[in-house]
Symmetry: C2
Subunit: 676 residues, 2 copies
């Protein structure tokens, strides 16, 4: 906390002012209409004004932020003035077309993931149970564990070598991007590829993980790919694609993608819209409600169409359209080890429980052999079933369906439910750490449903309610306690079960579990955002920020440029060439923000010595009306401005009205503060 | 557009700067930490700087706006610094308690409205049908029309004499309040009283109107009453009540009230939350989602409990818990005339259609006499029913239920559906103009359902789908086209019908009807807000606002006060007494905003001549860090600030950095612009 440290911090925070993308840098600065050509565009305060209190926590965040502010410069003004009606129409039409494309693509990916998982996993179950019917138990286990281990190795190899960013749920990453954090690999095409195939292999491998988180990430990646504004490499350079070269439109597209992902994973279109609003998005406009609604409706229609097509038997052995899915050598070994553990649990634990006779009225459905169903035979004598095998030796989807099924009281023994709950809970926790795309919804629902069914069985003699309802409420309570979502979990569960009479119960359970959870910590996605080191900006300022002034935490000293500056030049004389000249030479799209990872770096610019002696007129491209605050404003109040308006920089003006020096408060600075 | 006109406009706009509430006036001005005691708190630009373009549309809005800005003055800072943990806990607890109370009260009101309507209307139908069974048709009509006319007169008399603001739906009023428009009678206790009883009488009178709009208004009124911060008149002056003396907390409470209203009207708790978000609120925080969710859950529980209680026959003849409910002598005559017209249609039109034989398989349910049901006898021979009477001579709830009922294809003739559609459509339009509390949902659903059923009957030979489904889709299309809501209408319809399989159809129909409607005009509530003259501030700036600068439309000349000013005084000397003195004399609650209509008026202040010569120190109570923009900022960008942050005033600083003169841009000014 000595002076040396404070100097270092201040110097290192120069980087906070938009290094890398030159155009947004130049255009965010402050200027006056009739400013002289050699006046600096921005005057900084002389001396170190950063107070000693402020320096303590000033760990400026190294990740760049997205910028949602409208840069009002001459080019921008001329651009919208010259926009014709058909261009505006084209822009609006394009937004809807992209929403349609996102819905179509996400629906297709969701459907094919389901289909692939069901066919791979179904084939695995079939082979294993055939061997077991022939009493070749050791071979059966070897085959079962071998299949699982190979699939797990394939999934984690994809993750480890191709796209490490694709591991895990993906919801924290999407949440971070929508909070304005621009970490490039989050939404890269390689991430998309690994997310899809890693998820298929991971879920087929029988891990206790789900496919909803990865589907959300997949939807966001698809949207981001569409929003890149074309690609020079692949000759996709149509003019209309370029309309989306700004962070605001990309943010909207990716919000639609996240909603489409949930809609595809759960076949819950309304749930998708509400998830995007409640959990994923940091900025939301009512127009987005309408657009995400359209996207998820498209997803729902695509899924229905394909499932209808599959009913006629065109989709392989097992294509029924289910509910669910889920680091270099060490990472792969880790995944294989967890896979073996999961295989042992799935195959080994059912040997521990006794066989149960089938209920006499449903002997046609009980027991089931080889295929999915409520009553798995697993080594039992005829007309008996093994209730633990019905849960463990099944896809996660089928296990959940079995737990939720109504009218089947006493199907599962108390001991079975305790073993399954403990097993799934522990496996879920260790599985989430491995390097494959993995969702959290399914493990949480599995654990919650078995817990709820356990409570229902224990209370059975008193409550006389259906045990399937208890399982559902258990799942709701675990979801509410883990993710702290209310409306969207409610709608997703309703859309899954198609039963609205349970709504008040689900609401009550969610309220209680969220309230209890909130007493201890934040939701799981918020914690993961923090653990992954994303500098998330909360909607509300921390209490201590009221004690700080905006002037206390500004970045400085600033780099300043005069109105007409030396550089790769246009004229040999230092005169303002005026807006007309610049407008003739440049197109607004030259200043549009490039897609992720595609911007021109400062180091890549090729400026020769002669050019270094020429002058460039910056006046027409600077932002004439940036947002400003007085340095006496509390940091809490300034933080509200950043969050509500999606700013990246804020000019801090001094309290004495006579001087005209400025400081800059960057959102990176603020994010650093919030991480303390 | 001559200079005289421009001067007038500028002078009249002085009123825009918060007349009436002295404390917010003084505290919104600009100040500097070390400002001298006789320096003006705000320097205004000399001369008329309002440009000629800007004057054209400068019709400053006369209605005051609410202010959601945090006023950072010494008193405020001292207040939160001194807040203890138990006080913060008390504040949070209180918010939830109020949410609970709103839910309880709105649920109760909703239930008792239903009960009253069902008993009054049921008794009326019973008397009428008894007379008709005795073939005394003229007496039956006289009784029917007489009952309706008296109820109509009662409803409109209440409205005309007690609370004219209670007429109509109430949703536009709530929407306007939540947009920051402070028109006092909107949420007054008298409005609440008339809304409840006017609605009961109006719906009982058989008008083609619904009770959901009035329920939304009722919920908002209840919330507003709770948020008044107690009442000195009724000795309700507990300290904890005073925490809510600011516009932000009141806004949140009233949003909860609006959600509770929808939840009570439709028994659709999720629909209520989404309605509040999608249609009612202009400012929303994710914390509100959680709070409205709680409130509507309480409403759902209250309604279920009471309906359960009523099943045991404790609630009069007709208490089944239905779906629905709806100016001086001329206003009353108008209402009575429409009532007679409605009576004539209801009683007269069924004479025009032929009797239909009952379907042979449900002879126990068909025909029904006197009570509600699908098959009304109405003068037909035994085992026959009159299908038009089944729609017209019924409560609106029952008519909708009949239209939605599945498995009843061919129950209604095409001619019947055409007559009913035309009748309801025209009656709905003329009814909405009368002075009784009236909702729009029910007429729209009635017209849409009969239209949908008509289409279904026409397409019957081709589609082979259930006509009840067509009725539902017709209702969805009319709702989407009228109100332009998507997600909330979807959820409300799902919660009404308890059938999730129709979701993709409903989504598709809503998308189409909203898109078609949006090509022509805005939604009905937006149009009503405009017709009622509320200066609604849209989320998006109009395109022409990009052509204007913030400096073009400022209010001026400003009234300025020096740091220490003459007035009802504290000291005889013109010295700054400092914050400590002021903090000793005043409590933060002395500067809290009073409840609607309760603030101290400037004219009511009693200042004698001696006091006029004394000095008052304004420095500790002025806002030290108001939001500011440069005068070159486009009006569109400034409007975003107003809307996102809920501001009432914005300081406009001049472009030349050397001067320190300021202007004020008020939200009233901006609202005036948006009305052009």
């Amino acid at each position: 906390m000595d002076h040396r440290e404070s100097d270092e911090v201040v110097e290192s925070s120069v980087g906070g002012v938009a290094p890398g993308d030159m155009e947004s840098n130049a255009s965010s600065f402050f200027d006056d209409e009739e400013m002289g050509i050699s006046d600096p565009l921005l005057r900084w305060q002389t001396g170190n004004t950063t107070s000693q209190i402020a320096v303590v926590g000033a760990n400026v965040c190294p990740i760049e932020s997205l910028d949602y502010e409208v840069v009002e410069n001459d080019i921008y003004k001329e651009d919208w003035r010259s926009r014709k009606k058909h261009q505006i129409f084209q822009y609006v039409l394009l937004k809807w077309t992209f929403a349609l494309l996102i819905g179509l693509a996400t629906g297709l990916v969701g459907f094919f993931s389901n289909l692939a998982v069901e066919n791979i996993a179904g084939f695995k179950w079939l082979l294993t149970s055939n061997l077991m019917l022939k009493h070749r138990y050791h071979e059966a286990f070897a085959l079962f564990a071998g299949c699982n281990a190979s699939l797990a190795a394939a999934a984690s190899a994809l993750c480890a070598y191709l796209a490490p960013a694709a591991a895990g749920s993906g919801i924290p990453e999407v949440k971070a991007y929508l909070n304005g954090i621009d970490a490039h690999p989050i939404l890269a095409p390689s991430t998309l590829f690994v997310k899809i195939f890693g998820c298929i292999f991971g879920v087929s491998a029988g891990f206790v993980l789900g496919k909803e988180g990865p589907m959300v990430h997949t939807g966001a990646c698809i949207a981001s790919l569409l929003g890149q504004g074309g690609s020079r490499k692949y000759q996709l350079t149509w003019t209309w694609l370029r309309y989306f070269k700004n962070d605001r439109d990309r943010r909207d597209l990716i919000t639609c993608g996240a909603a489409a992902g949930v809609a595809a994973a759960f076949r819950a279109p309304l749930g998708g819209v509400l998830f995007a609003y409640e959990e994923a998005a940091s900025w939301w406009r009512s127009a987005l409600l309408w657009r995400t609604f359209f996207t998820t409706a498209v997803v729902a229609v695509v899924l229905r169409t394909f499932i209808y097509f599959c009913r006629s038997g065109n989709c392989g052995l097992f294509g029924k359209g289910g509910l669910i899915m889920r680091g270099v050598p060490f990472k792969i070994l880790h995944a294989v080890a967890i896979s073996l553990l999961t295989s042992c649990c799935s195959y080994g634990l059912p040997w521990l429980v006794k066989c149960t006779p089938c209920p006499p009225d449903i002997l046609d459905q009980c027991p089931t052999i080889g295929r999915s169903g409520n009553y798995k035979n697993f080594l039992c004598p005829p007309n008996h079933y093994n209730d633990l095998a019905s849960l463990f030796l099944n896809t996660n989807d089928d296990a959940i369906r079995n737990l939720f099924s109504g009218g089947t009281n006493n199907e599962f023994h108390i001991s079975t439910l305790i073993i399954f709950f403990a097993g799934v809970y522990c496996l879920g926790i260790v599985t989430y750490g491995i390097a494959v795309p993995s969702g959290l919804f399914i493990p949480v629902i599995l654990a919650g449903a078995s817990y709820g069914r356990l409570v229902g069985t224990l209370l059975g003699p008193i409550s006389k309610l259906d045990e399937g309802l208890f399982a559902l409420l258990g799942a709701a309570s675990f979801l509410g306690g883990t993710m702290r979502m209310t409306v969207s979990v409610c709608v997703i569960l309703l859309e899954l079960t198609n039963d609205l009479m349970i709504l008040p119960f689900v609401m009550l359970v969610l309220l209680i579990s969220k309230t209890v959870g909130d007493c201890f910590n934040k939701g799981v996605y918020d914690q993961m955002v923090k653990m992954k080191g994303f500098p998330f900006m909360e909607a509300h300022a921390e209490p201590y920020m009221r004690n700080l002034k905006a002037g206390d935490v500004v970045s400085g000293p600033l780099m300043t440029l005069a109105g007409v500056e030396k550089g790769k030049g246009f004229t040999k004389e230092r005169v303002s060439t005026g807006a007309a000249d610049v407008l003739r030479r440049f197109d607004p799209f030259d200043f549009a923000k490039a897609g992720s990872g595609k911007g021109v770096k400062l180091e890549e610019l090729d400026i020769d010595d002669a050019e270094m002696e020429m002058y460039v007129d910056l006046l027409p491209i600077v932002n004439r009306s940036p947002y400003t605050v007085k340095e006496t404003m509390s940091l809490a109040k300034a933080a509200v401005l950043f969050r509500e308006l999606g700013l990246r920089h804020l000019c801090v003006v001094p309290k004495s009205p006579g001087t005209s020096a400025f400081d800059i408060l960057t959102v990176e600075n603020l994010r650093g503060w919030m991480r303390i």
